[in-house]
């Protein structure tokens, strides 16, 4: 069983790569979509609403299959789409829908007087958002966004179903070749657990730092 540890460990970077890429892209997309919905950009906010509804309303596994097996048949440029890229695209879009909603909630939670005060000094709407509203919303949204990041990390294990050998795929391969099924899946479970716990410790420090503006 100890032999399994270095094997699984060697796939940690790939898991983290997929998770971090999906988180960064998903967060950027989510922030843009949240702002579009809050300020009700004509037409665009309706498209965003449909997008969010679809990606929250269908299972992640279905979406991943759609991107990996479905789209290449429809879009010729995607024929060489590899499993890692398909997984990152799927995770990004899926979680951006959830994160957009929690960012939107956080923006709506910022007191109206903050918008007015910023407008009253002559800021443009874009300046109001980037300088005053979004920094405050980020603090409110941070805990839930961190939860989504944790969820993303664990969901990268689904890339295994697209033929990607990441941590979960490696555990499955090791298990079937050595017949150490309980050991292999226990080891991979502990790996996910340790990664998530390490991040949670980081989250607590981040929240402490972001909380400075409200502490006395």
């Amino acid at each position: 069983m100890l032999d399994l540890i270095p094997v699984i460990a060697s796939y940690v970077p790939l898991t983290l790569f997929m998770a971090i890429m999906s988180m960064i892209a998903g967060l950027a997309l989510a922030a843009v979509m949240a702002v579009i919905r809050v300020i009700k950009v004509p037409y665009l906010h309706r498209i965003v609403a449909v997008f969010i509804s679809f990606f929250r309303g269908t299972p992640l596994l279905v979406q991943l299959f759609l991107f990996y097996f479905g789209l290449p048949q429809l879009v010729s440029g995607l024929q060489n789409l590899d499993g890692v890229s398909a997984a990152i695209i799927g995770l990004t879009l899926h979680f951006s829908a959830y994160m957009a909603e929690s960012i939107r909630g956080a923006i709506l939670g910022v007191d109206r007087s903050q918008w007015e005060a910023a407008a009253s000094v002559g800021m443009t709407q874009k300046q109001v958002l980037t300088r005053i509203i979004l920094p405050q919303a980020a603090r409110t949204a941070a805990p839930t966004l961190m939860n989504y990041f944790i969820d993303i990390i664990k969901s990268t294990s689904l890339a295994f179903t697209l033929g990607v050998t990441e941590m979960m795929g490696a555990a499955q391969k090791e298990a079937s070749s050595t017949f150490l099924y309980p050991e292999a899946f226990l080891v991979v479970a502990v790996f996910y657990w340790v990664i998530v716990e390490t991040l949670s410790a980081g989250q607590r420090r981040l929240e402490h730092r972001l909380g400075k503006a409200v502490s006395r």
């Binding site: 007191d111 007087s113 903050q114 007015e116 005060a117 910023a118 407008a119 009253s120 000094v121 002559g122 800021m123 443009t124 300046q127 300088r131 005053i132 920094p135 405050q136 603090r139 400075k212 503006a213 409200v214 502490s215 006395r216």
Partner: protein, 246 residues
């Protein structure tokens, strides 16, 4: 004399409710005007319309050489108007994610394009003027109501606005902080800053204002120097109101 600030025919409706029903006002350069009147008569709405925090449906606002017409006001007109006016909020509304110093600097760097060094110097100057020279690094949540409102006034002062608007600046304060905020407003008034203040502090209005405007039901009922309004009001409604609050 010509008006520095000229307001003509301002109308604001919320649905079927007409809150401002044709307001005309003219402020001379350096004039300090106080608006008094019963609650819900549109005093705060008038101030908010002057800064386009509420958009009026009709009327024209002229500040110096800038005229904004409600019927065809563009975004750029509204920004230009806001850059010429400073607004002090009842609930202070300091930027919660910024220190006292950064609150004062924000308009200078973001809106007026000052360098950070210039803006820091100006902000520190203002902080000492408002008696908070040692609180520049404090966040709003760590300050008393009186301190927050002084920063709110400092933030409005920093813009060197042609017109300062005070919307019931002491109404949300605990009684113990009212004095220090009124003192600061008095000092701003002494600098012959053109200002429009909505207040329930009658004694204060009488002291600092050159002219008192009495509003009721979305209209200006009567206006004149404090001695006239408080000593010899012409309109029954003005006298009735002053009896109630006096």
């Amino acid at each position: 004399m010509s008006c520095q600030i000229d307001i003509k025919g301002l109308v604001k409706r919320f649905g079927d409710n007409t809150v401002l029903n044709g307001i005309d006002l003219c402020l001379q350069p350096g004039e300090r005007m106080a608006i008094i009147g019963p609650s819900g008569t549109g005093k705060s709405t008038l101030l908010r319309c002057l800064n386009y925090l509420d958009r009026p449906e009709e009327g024209r606002i002229t500040i110096g050489d800038l005229t904004v017409d409600a019927e065809n006001a563009q975004k750029s007109d509204i920004l230009a108007l806001r850059r010429r006016t400073g607004f002090v909020f009842q609930n202070y509304a300091l930027f919660a994610n910024k220190t006292a110093r950064a609150n004062i600097m924000e308009g200078l760097t973001t809106v007026r394009g000052w360098s950070k060094a210039q803006a820091t110097e100006r902000a520190d100057q203002i902080l000492s003027q408002i008696g908070l020279g040692d609180r520049g690094d404090s966040y709003p949540a760590a300050m008393s109501g009186g301190q927050q409102q002084r920063v709110g006034i400092g933030r409005a002062m920093a813009l060197d606005a042609e017109l300062l608007l005070f919307d019931e600046p002491t109404s949300a304060l605990d009684p113990e902080w009212v004095g220090e905020v009124l003192d600061l407003i008095r000092r701003v008034a002494d600098g012959r800053q053109t200002m429009l203040i909505v207040t329930h502090e009658m004694q204060f209005a009488r002291e600092i204002a050159d002219r008192i405007v009495f509003m009721e039901g979305g209209r200006i009922v009567e206006q004149g120097p404090p001695s006239q309004i408080f000593g010899n009001a012409q309109d029954d409604r003005t006298r009735a109101f002053l009896r109630r609050v006096g």
